[in-house]
Amino acid sequence: MSETQETGGCTIPPEAHAVLEEIENRQKRFKRNTTIALLSLTAFIFFLFYVIKLDFMFMGKWVGFILTGMGFTLLVSFLAISLACILSILGALGRLSKNPIANSIATAYVSLIRGTPLLVQVYMWYLALPQLGKALEDIGIPGIQNALTLPAIPAGILALGVCYGAYMTETVRAGIQSITIGQREAAKALGMTESQAMRRIIFPQALRIIIPPISNEFIAMIKDSSLVSLMGVWELSYRAIKIGRRYFQSLEMLIMVAFIYWLMCVVLQYVQEKIEAHMARGDRRVH
């Protein structure tokens, strides 16, 4: 690497090369040591598994059954996060709206949902909604009880989506508000309407800022989706707990299911990084 480069008639002095080399070596050493540390940690964990006599045969036997539950987990998470994204955009627009009705609905939504436990909300959708339906049917709205009696999976998707939508509303609102007033003014000066400015100028910039926190929410969602097991859906964690209890080998099952969740989150994190890199085009810092 150390042949001298001509840069506009001026050569990089030899002592500078030594410095550059030292910086490169330091980076290499850091990478190598991190890898060693990670490998040692993994080895240590497997050693622990060995000491506590973890039954890998048993795990192997049931892994297929447990993985079948992953379908539910992913289905619930993806639909719920999609719902949450839509709700959070509407919520943020409402929170920023000068229309008193839209504004108060959005504010009440965020306050109410953030102020109650997700567990209670899940049961609300699943158990309490049918009762509301019955009451409404009694005062003369035919068919409403059936419509409001939701099967477990739709109830779970609604509960998670509505709940995360409220948290994400605040994230989206903060993202939109972080875009400087000058951007909106430049858009207006060109003749854009409010909604054109939002769609073309403000929101695309806000999106860049809110992708990391939204990804966090998604990762949290994957894990919170295990709450649908409360309603008897045979998703990942429910299966693991059932089998573990039945054979008194909960440790194996829980370690396995934890590992599966972790892998899913690692994949998501990878996707997040890819999206972020894509969004950061034109940002001086990453080039």
Binding site: T180, G182, Q183, E185, A186, A187, K188, A189, L190, G191, M192, T193, Q196, R200, I201, P204, Q205, R208, R281, G282, D283, R284, H287
Partner: protein, 254 residues
């Protein structure tokens, strides 16, 4: 100039911020097509507010604004007035002190954004003109570069091209060079000069004395929310009548 039609007409313009911050106090002003007007005045005298009322970035409290025959009365928030405001904004370009380029778009994307989104033109249709404009401001080679990688002077020139892409009848400049390093001021002023040469109607707030002296047809001195004196630059700079103008000019000319 007198035979030309009036491009911008401001009548009895008032702007009150909050309840009692009376920033513009009954301004009357006529700007003819092709005229270059430079607005000078101490900080806080209302120069920016005046420009921003012309394209309704600020809502005037009272008075009327007419741009190219379109008249909007202050205080009437009807749908019809709102449509007129949007039309006035299409006819007026504005350049800001802080450029305000769209950072998520390349130079060329910034330039076509107005025609595509506001005028509904197809991208392919407006790219040739946008390229011509970038060339005109001397930035063809920065076509696909994002604003964060441009110098301040380059950003301001892209911002000028972005405004010109809407084929405006009037250009408003609010201190376009005051955020720039001294050595970058020249390239922006040069573009403004060429714009003036091509007959653009310009209202500019700027402290570039060379532009005011050699390019402007008229210089307006503001203080306390109204202009106190106006006239051709040679008159204003050599022989101001008002005491306050004298003080102000003595202050900035040193």
């Amino acid at each position: 100039m007198n035979d030309k039609k009036t491009m911008v007409k401001i009548e009895n313009l008032h702007k009150v911020f909050g309840k009692d911050s009376h920033v513009l106090r009954g301004i009357d002003l006529d700007v003819k097509a092709g005229e270059v007007v430079v607005i000078l005045g101490p900080s806080g005298s209302g120069k920016s507010t005046l420009l921003r009322c012309i394209n309704f970035l600020e809502t005037p409290t009272a008075g009327t604004i007419t741009v190219d025959g379109l008249t909007v009365n202050a205080g009437k928030a009807t749908k019809e007035e709102e449509t007129k405001i949007l039309q006035i904004r299409k006819k007026t370009g504005m350049c800001f002190q802080s450029f305000n380029l769209f950072p998520h778009m390349t130079a060329i994307e910034n330039v076509i954004e107005g025609p595509v989104t506001v005028l509904g033109q197809a991208k392919s249709e407006c790219i040739p003109y946008a390229e011509e404009l970038l060339d005109w401001v001397g930035l063809s080679d920065k076509r696909d570069v994002h604003p964060s990688r441009l110098s301040g002077g380059q950003q301001q020139r892209v911002a000028i091209a972005r405004s010109l892409a809407m084929k405006p009848d009037v250009m408003l400049f609010d201190e376009p060079t005051s955020a720039l390093d001294p050595e970058l001021v020249g390239e922006v002023v040069e573009v403004m000069e060429r714009l003036a040469d091509e007959g653009m109607t310009i209202l500019a707030v700027t402290h570039e004395m060379h532009f005011a002296r050699d390019v402007a047809h008229r210089v307006l001195i503001m203080d306390g929310g109204d202009w106190i004196e106006q006239g051709p630059p040679e008159e204003i700079f050599t022989n101001p009548r008002e005491q306050r103008s004298k003080q102000f000019l003595a202050h900035i000319l040193n």
